[in-house]
Symmetry: C3
Subunit: 206 residues, 3 copies
């Protein structure tokens, strides 16, 4: 149907999973974890959100069972953790990582909402499932590394951007807008909103 859009989605997905696992690598590095710890934290960060979504929606097989290649890539990167880390800090700037992570937040949240709607969940629940899919990986990462999860205390609109973007997807779905376009629009919204609020240094009340 939309071969180019499907390709675009697949590329975004790869970017998103890599961005999430790299944030796991960096956190693991900060806590001086060993290779196995690095692998598990990167894996939990990349696939934690999708796994909790699949448990809650009773979907099988799990995303990471179907996409073993991603798991293998993260595994190999962990085996060479020090080299991986040096490569990351040389090749990928803070800004690139921020954009990649925002793509991940957008894509995971919107796809979570989409799957929840497919499973006949009511609107508000579908939006919550989407936000959970987007942010839960980071929460697990921080819990494993013994920190209060960043998204709970950061005061920056992270989950909030996902929340609004998921509502946009629900709206587009309600008016029977084409699914692939809807995913792209809502993801783009979350991406832009995240980057804009970050740039403008907007803060949530607390």
């Amino acid at each position: 149907m939309h071969p180019r859009l499907t390709l675009a989605l697949a590329i975004m997905e790869a970017i998103a999973i890599m961005a999430y696992s790299i944030s796991g690598f960096i956190e693991a590095r900060t806590r001086r974890l060993d290779a196995v710890g690095t692998f598990l934290v990167a894996l939990a960060t990349a696939f934690g959100g999708g796994t909790i979504r699949d448990v809650l929606l009773e979907r099988r097989p799990f995303y990471w069972v179907q996409h073993q290649n991603y798991v293998l890539v993260i595994f190999v990167m962990s085996l060479f953790a020090p080299m991986t880390f040096r490569a990351i800090s040389r090749v990928i700037s803070e800004r690139v990582l921020l954009v990649a992570d925002a793509i991940g937040l957008g894509l995971f949240s919107v796809s979570g909402t989409s799957l929840a709607l497919d499973a006949q969940m009511p609107w508000f629940t579908s939006v919550m499932m989407g936000v959970l899919t987007g942010v839960f990986g980071g929460v697990i990462r921080d819990v494993l590394c013994n920190e209060v999860p960043l998204i709970l205390r950061d005061s920056r609109p992270y989950a909030t951007c996902a929340f609004v973007g998921c509502w946009i997807y629900v709206l587009l779905d309600y008016v029977n807008f084409d699914t692939v376009y809807s995913v792209l629009i809502a993801t783009a919204f979350i991406l832009v909103a995240r980057l804009a609020t970050f740039k403008l240094d907007m803060r949530l009340p607390h």
Copy 2:
């Protein structure tokens, strides 16, 4: 059948959910979480126990999917977190909160045991499921806020009261006592036991 008792149970349920989410609000305040963090912690505290129970017993839809209005109330309270917190600390005294939380402990534990028995679980397992339903929300709350869960280190008979109360429910169920009355009796026992042991400052060995 028992319109008044059913109403009483519904009111107790509302009190219990509010009490649990308020304990989430207070903890979130202590850790200076932002609005989103406050919402997620309050939500996890209020519905964490029921969700883990439903995952373990394979029950669907989740409680919070069926009772979206509670989620919405917690959401609105989080949006106005500073105001909510001021209202809580003015209107609700420590003592009221203790009683409300004890009602929640009783009701959640007993209902968890009841659902486990319905699912043909053996007695001891049903009691453990009940205790888990009652205390797991608080455990998640404390893990998210990076603390050793209060119930694990408090030395006060909290889970212990729920444990005994759940056995009372199992007993009443075994002698085919009316379900609604059984729930009320076991819940009342846990409520009274919790308040009495708190008042008398009883301690567990450690």
Copy 3:
């Protein structure tokens, strides 16, 4: 079929569950948890890995529902936690505990892999499920006790031994080697590998 081997497996299982719950007891002691906290931490350590495996593979009933006697033993040990702890530190030396824990790591990992293969999971996923079954109990224990999980930061090849042993099991399964012997061989490998790397003080890169 193999009455002696089945008996050997049952004995190893009992040793493994006791070893895991004792590591929970010791951790609970260090954090000065009360009797209930001790019970829950010991329980989570002993059965956490198997429970997450069963949730991921959709297996029911849970292991600890079928083997209530283990839960009861841990319960009674928790009731008399101070006595239990004195008995543990007198009767069981550090070295015995290390061996018992390594038996647990081996047996839990290999059985997790075996069940995942039975559920038609691909090889790499089955190995990951096995490792998860072996180490997750310890991860939950450390998260509950507010520490960065030991296996993530220890630098000793713990999960790594399980990982290699699970691949050995996958290989033996692939060549249709007898299941019970395969379990014993792979478990023995993990046991020996863990003890050898510990003795030689081998370290993972980090």
